[in-house]
Amino acid sequence: METLEQFISYVSNNGGYIWVQFYRHFLMAAYGVLFAAIISIPLGILISKYGKLSSWVLAFGSIIQTIPALGAMAVIMIVLGLGANTAIFTLMLYSILPITQNTYVGMKNVDKNIIEAGYASGMTKFQLLRMVELPLAISVIMAGLRTAIVIGIGVAAIGAFVGAGGLGAIILTGTNATDGTAIILAGAIPTALMAIAADVIMGWIERKLQPVKSSKTRTT
């Protein structure tokens, strides 16, 4: 109970500070996933076209995924230095696998007959990609982005160790205080809420982008 009181008083006294860190935390996660998407979506499309590459690329992504985030961040810090950029780069690395994998799976799952139909009606490769394959794969790709942003919000919390700030900094402050549970909660709860909110919103977008399964696409 005492913790709850402390928590409430800490949050009400430092609302502005928590909000600033929340915003910063979100931006770090969003930038990381955005950059990862810029790399990974084209990469996923590429490996779906050239099957031989796929096992290599996905294996490489999995290897990155197994490195502990804190260790990776420490190594990246040597190159990029202190600050938000290191955190963003690290969580970008962790976002590459889910996005690439989902893009790959999404592209592979597009019905071959539809592609053939498009091809037969004289579409160029690019038109086929833009007008047939991507729209059909987009919801799966979005699912990848959704996973990535949830992972990213978690990784960004560790960014505090390399001076990136964010909600992780509040958690660390709490661990230094004598009875800092209240402060730890003030950092941890918003982090969790952010992850849940991101998941829900991305899930909603994902459903919105679901290709319509009407007779139009099932003519064969």
């Binding site: 402390q6 430092n14 955005l34 833009r130 160790f161 001076g163 205080a177 004598t178």
Partner: protein, 305 residues
């Protein structure tokens, strides 16, 4: 689909301008590094407030850095322009790789000279407090037995339980081995996490503990720091360190540091740390309150202690 592409382009354009909202990498931003301790954080906030008041530069804090070495490397790489707290003893053996010196003035003059020569950085004027290892007992025990110095404790030492920070026991030079050579041995020694040490002493599980002298919890748990009468522990006087390049651009910073010189005694720092560590106040608020109560040191020579 078109909308999605448009959104993506928009976002890419947004990120084109050096990650808005995160790193304000304009030229006039002074980056201040701080350790993970409340003390370091509070002082970084103080510097930030003072710099923003008295210069036209903005500031950005890089907090929760792991160690003095990380701070030092950040300075060397140019990631940081100022580090808020550097301790003579730590950097003498850490960044400079030299042997510990027990005389505080000598240690200070060595780091000042060496940082200037080797790293092109200015070791700022001391804040006035030190955060050294120190031996502490409960107030009750000290009064009962009339103990003021570590030597006073010697007659009781065999029956005492000594609670210490894990990291201290095996330290070369100023660790327990060295301590035994200069002073005496305690009956039993219990290495533990530093966070537990103070509570252990307060709860009576430990009779004597190794504390950090500026820690606010010394006050919270009614402990008394004993005088290091044989000068065993190296000095850890706290100062900021500034890159000379930054000083050239903003010479006013030196005045600010002069204003803070000797304004924060160890007792004052304990109090400020107490506010952050025990009262759970935000370091920024602690720093603001302190500066405000001293009128931002507008009239030099007054205020503080």
């Amino acid at each position: 689909m078109k909308k999605a592409i448009l959104m993506l382009i928009l976002l890419v354009m947004l990120t084109g301008c050096s990650l808005p909202g995160l790193s304000s990498t304009t030229k006039d931003t002074i980056k201040i590094g701080a350790l993970g301790t409340s003390e370091s954080y509070i002082l970084a906030e103080m510097l930030a407030i003072m710099i923003e008041r008295e210069t036209d530069a903005g500031t950005e804090l890089v907090t929760h850095l792991g160690s003095s070495i990380v701070q030092h490397q950040g300075m060397m790489r140019g990631d940081l322009d100022i580090t808020s707290t550097r301790y003579t003893g730590t950097d003498l053996s850490g960044a400079l790789g030299m042997d510990p010196v027990t005389d505080p003035d000598e240690a200070l003059s060595i780091v000042t000279r060496e940082f200037q020569d080797r790293f092109n950085q200015t070791w700022g004027p001391t804040y006035g407090f030190e955060n050294s290892y120190s031996v502490a007992v409960t107030e009750e025990f000290a009064q009962e037995n009339n103990i003021e110095t570590i030597s006073d404790l010697e007659p009781f030492a065999d029956d005492l339980r000594f609670g210490v920070d894990n990291a201290w026991v095996n330290r070369k030079g100023d660790g327990y081995d060295g301590f035994q050579e200069t002073y005496y041995s305690f009956g039993e020694i219990f290495p533990m996490n530093i966070g537990l040490v103070y509570q252990a002493a307060a709860a009576g599980s430990m009779d004597v503990v190794l504390a950090y002298s500026s820690d606010g919890r010394i006050k919270e748990f009614d402990l008394v720091v004993l005088e290091d009468d044989r000068r065993f522990f190296p000095p850890y006087d706290a100062s900021p360190v500034i890159a000379n390049e930054t000083l050239e651009k903003h010479p006013e910073i030196l005045d600010i540091l002069e204003k803070l010189h000797n304004k924060i005694s160890t007792e004052k720092m304990q109090e400020l740390n107490y506010n952050a560590d025990v009262e759970l106040m935000n370091p920024r608020k602690v720093a603001e309150d302190f500066l405000e109560s001293n009128n931002y040191f507008m009239n030099e020579g007054k205020g503080g202690q």
